[in-house]
């Protein structure tokens, strides 16, 4: 129960505005800009990392001095990364692995195939 200090919480306001700006920038890059797809993806990735940084440093007590590091949410960050890994790797695995119907997927070279196979799948429709 932290006692609330009166006044404008500068960090939070700046963080909030920054995260809005970065969200709009990402939407603009995807919808309106004429950048090549590769650059759009790279741009969105970079913005995502920055966004995570804003959340951690401006909202999530990572640099909170008073707590002596006791509030640093390492535990939850680890779980978050684990979940993101399951989400991304799992989706790639289920949605594109072994979709050529001929190969029974021994597991070798799966990573490279995935990206090549996806367009074929669409051509099939």
């Amino acid at each position: 129960m932290a006692s609330s200090k009166k006044g404008i919480p500068k960090n939070h306001v700046i963080g909030f505005i920054l995260s809005l700006v970065m969200t709009v920038a990402a939407a603009w890059a995807a919808i309106r800009s004429d950048l090549p797809v590769t650059w759009v993806i790279i741009g969105i990735m970079v913005l995502a990392l920055l966004q995570a940084g804003v959340q951690l440093f401006m909202f999530m007590h990572v640099i909170e001095a008073g707590s002596g590091g006791g509030h640093v949410p390492w535990n939850m960050m680890f779980h978050g990364f684990a979940l993101a890994a399951i989400l991304v790797a799992g989706s790639l695995f289920t949605m594109s692995f072994g979709f050529d119907h001929g190969d029974h997927g021994g597991g070798s070279g799966g990573g490279d195939e995935q990206f090549e196979e996806q367009p074929e799948e669409h051509a099939g429709h």
Partner: protein, 647 residues
């Protein structure tokens, strides 16, 4: 835009529903005005931040939703038993099975369990409220407005009709135009905010606000199940949020994430949906396991057998729940290797679940069992749930699943786990903790009638469905006048009405007990068999729960307290108690967001923007809200406690 454009017209059942909604609304407004209860309603309930009152509101809403979902179910069963009657047309049938599934999972099972957690968890860990009481009220109202939004769809705009899984491309703009699917998306999105917030709230409450001395492995098992559930909620719900948002953008703003054209990936919806959806089924079953564990230990009058194994098996179930989602769509054809991986991970879940079953049996072994109503629900859960679990393992075999997939075998399986698991637990938990909530028990004799009717009806309803599935009857089928299926379908419908009757008796029991049940004088309502801290409080529970917070360093602390003749109350240690103030902000903020959602459903962008602005303004108001609550004076606590304890 004319009013008749958005109202659903042309069906006698719907007109009857409109009339009854109007009559009920008028009746409620009249009664509140006649008895001058508007102020009371606002001051005591709508603005409350007390976890006990919020829990009661959750449970009342969940019971209403159980009624709504149950009516849907019985209409479906009538159609299936009498296919030539023309009771429902195909569109109406599609809408009903969609709303039945969505309401039962999202607006019945979860709120019911969250309601029980709300009331019981702070009492079990010796806390005075949630870590964030304001946020708790916000969660409730977000669920409430989400549920209302979803429920009005059948008279305004038309209900969603693409199944509770809402698979794309069927649920996309091209194949399901109109507001129906938007109701699904926005209703779930709005109530999902509340669920996520509750997950965080309860997690912080359990991790930070336990009574002094209480280590994690001293916590009551229901609190443990809540903690594990909160982790699943916090990690699974963002996936649903994103999936719903992507589909909303698809439908309203014309993007192509899940469409057939423009490089969309329709099956990605199924993938994301079940990445949330599978953890979701553990969100509704783990708290149920917790409730059964409490009830069984109490009425076997023994400490729960294998407490540590119980906790670890829940944690392992939670981990595995994120690794099995593909078994819901083996037939997508991801390939033998992918399916095999998920087949194996699915079967692994049977191991910790089996551990739990044997621990319950071992708790019962050689104990003097008291057959109360909550115990009956818990004991009947074990064999019924095993039937559901074993057929689940059968469905988990990828090769066999190609045969069972989307047949009534699957329908029977998930009703066996969800009803025998979650619904039985909701009833068991409500009856078990009822004296803590309302100060009197539910009538045992009527309660047993309700139990036996529901229990028998459940098996008569769903057991035949396994065989219907094996006979090839697919789910979500509207025309079933095939001679081989008819007898089993009729038996199943009889069972469904038995369950309906059981529910009616249960609700009647609430009224009957309110009128005639003896009022509780002690806090330890079940013949002094309570084992955990919630039974150490007085009944009715004072708004601050514990006048003095006890020191706890063991499992089932109340057993020893009773042996030593102690209570949690120590008048010499009284200090002023810091409590949060009631506030009307949560309900106002969420009604604005409800308005925004309503605008998005009909794609009236100005309305949506107005609602969103209102929501943001309320958030700014909250940001500059310096109300730090108030203190209850020692004299007042003394007065309340002396009266409650008869000192």
């Amino acid at each position: 835009m004319h009013i008749t454009d958005i109202l659903v017209t042309g069906e006698p059942i719907i007109y009857a529903a409109m009339v009854s909604i109007a009559l009920v609304t008028v009746a409620i407004v009249f009664l509140l005005t006649y008895f001058k209860k508007w102020g009371w309603l606002w001051r005591e309930w709508l603005t409350t931040v007390d976890h006990k009152k919020i829990g009661i509101m959750y449970i009342l809403s969940a019971l209403a939703m159980l009624f709504r979902g149950g009516m849907d179910a019985m209409m479906m069963r009538v159609q299936l038993a009498f296919p030539n009657l023309g009771f429902l047309d195909s569109q109406h049938y599609n809408e009903i099975f969609t709303t039945h599934g969505t309401i039962m999972i999202i607006f019945m099972a979860m709120p019911f369990l969250i309601g029980l957690m709300n009331i019981i968890v702070p009492l079990q860990i010796g806390a005075r409220d949630f870590a964030f009481p304001y946020l708790n009220a916000l969660s409730f109202w977000s669920f409430f407005f989400g549920a209302m939004l979803f429920n009005i769809s059948f008279v305004i705009g038309g209900s969603p009709d693409a199944g509770w899984t809402s698979y794309t491309p069927l649920s996309g703009a091209a194949m399901s135009p109109g507001p129906g699917q938007n109701f699904y998306l926005m209703g779930l999105q709005l109530s999902g905010i509340g669920t996520l917030a509750t997950g965080i709230n309860l997690m912080v409450t359990i991790l930070k606000m336990r009574a002094p001395g209480m280590k994690l492995f001293h916590m009551p098992i229901f609190t443990w199940s809540t903690l594990v559930t909160c982790f699943i909620i916090v990690f699974a719900f963002p996936i649903l949020t994103v999936a719903l948002a992507l589909l909303t953008i698809d439908r309203i703003f014309g993007s192509q994430f899940f469409t057939l054209t423009g490089e969309g990936l329709p099956m990605m919806w199924a993938n994301l949906f079940w990445m949330w959806g599978h953890p979701e089924v553990y969100i509704v079953i783990l708290p149920a396991f917790g409730i059964f564990s409490e009830v069984i230990a109490t009425f076997a009058k023994k400490r729960l057998f294998g407490y540590n194994a119980m906790v670890w098996s829940m944690i392992i179930i939670a981990l595995l729940s994120f690794l099995v989602w593909v078994h819901h769509f083996f037939t997508m054809g991801a390939g033998a290797f992918v399916n095999s991986v998920f087949s194996v991970s699915t079967m692994l879940i049977a191991v910790p679940t089996g551990v739990k079953i044997f621990n319950w049996l071992a708790t019962l072994y050689k104990s003097k069992i008291e057959f109360t109503v909550p115990m009956l629900w818990s004991l009947s859960f074990i064999p019924s749930f095993i039937l559901g679990g074993v057929t689940g393992v059968m469905l988990g075999m990828a090769a066999a699943d190609y045969q069972f997939h989307n047949s009534y075998f699957l329908v029977a399986h998930f009703h066996y786990v969800l009803i025998a698991g979650t619904v039985f637990a909701c009833f068991a938990g409500l009856v078990f903790w009822y004296p803590k909530m309302f100060g009197h028990k539910m009538n045992e004799r009527i309660g047993k009638w309700a139990f036996w009717l529901f229990f028998a009806g459940f098996h008569v309803c769903f057991f035949p469905q396994y065989f219907l599935g094996l006979d090839g009857m697919p789910r979500r089928l509207f025309i079933t006048n095939i001679a081989e299926w008819l007898p089993l379908n009729i038996i199943s419908t009889v069972g469904a009405f038995g369950m309906g009757l059981g529910f009616a008796v249960f609700v009647y029991n609430i009224y009957y007990s309110y009128r005639y049940s003896e009022r509780e004088t002690t806090g330890d309502s079940w013949n002094g068999n309570g084992r955990t801290l919630e039974w150490a409080t007085t009944t009715p529970v004072p708004f601050y729960n514990f006048a003095t917070v006890p020191y706890v360093d063991e499992i089932d602390p109340y057993v020893r307290m009773k042996e030593e003749g102690k209570t949690t109350f120590d008048e010499t240690k009284l200090k002023p108690i810091h409590m949060p103030s009631y506030t009307g902000q949560p309900i106002i903020m969420m009604s604005f967001l409800g308005l925004a959602s309503f605008g998005l459903i009909f794609e009236w962008i100005p309305v949506a923007i107005a609602g969103l602005i209102g929501g943001v303004v309320m958030m700014i108001v909250r940001s500059f809200d310096y109300d730090d609550g108030y203190y209850v004076s020692v004299e007042e606590i003394k007065r309340i406690e002396r009266k409650a304890r008869g000192l």
